[in-house]
Subunit: 80 residues, 2 copies
């Protein structure tokens, strides 16, 4: 199954990269932006065919390697 | 509105970063992975309140700055 996960900085953590992108877009004429935050996206193709188990496996991966839980949140956004 | 967009490498483009993450996870005991591909995730908060227009604005941003359309695809995955 292909599981999609997203890792984002926690709400209270500054995102300088997002800020820079916002400034760049502003300079290109996109003036009406409140905020941009950048994160990481993973598409993980696991051999497991049970959606619940696949979800669990990817959640484990996020906790153990992909996300730094001190400053980041993970979310599994799709399984198929 | 908050629009979420994902930028991924096109299918035929090698993703060495994803490969390395896969190897790292393999070394940690996650043996049953077919493939991992990494991408970028953007959460863009625009002042526009019409979902269709917000979608259009973010699509424009992806085309003009966020994605390199030669090697990357973009997808808008959520609006709220």
């Amino acid at each position: 199954m292909k599981v999609s996960a997203v890792i984002t900085l926690k709400k209270d953590v500054l995102d300088p990269q997002g800020k820079i992108i916002q400034q760049a877009l502003d300079g290109m004429g996109f003036k009406d932006i409140n905020e941009i935050r950048q994160g990481k996206y993973f598409e993980i193709d696991v051999k497991e065919n049970d959606p619940k188990k696949a979800h669990k496996i990817v959640e484990d991966m996020c906790k153990k390697l992909l996300a730094n839980l001190v400053i980041e949140d993970y979310k599994i956004i799709g399984i198929n």
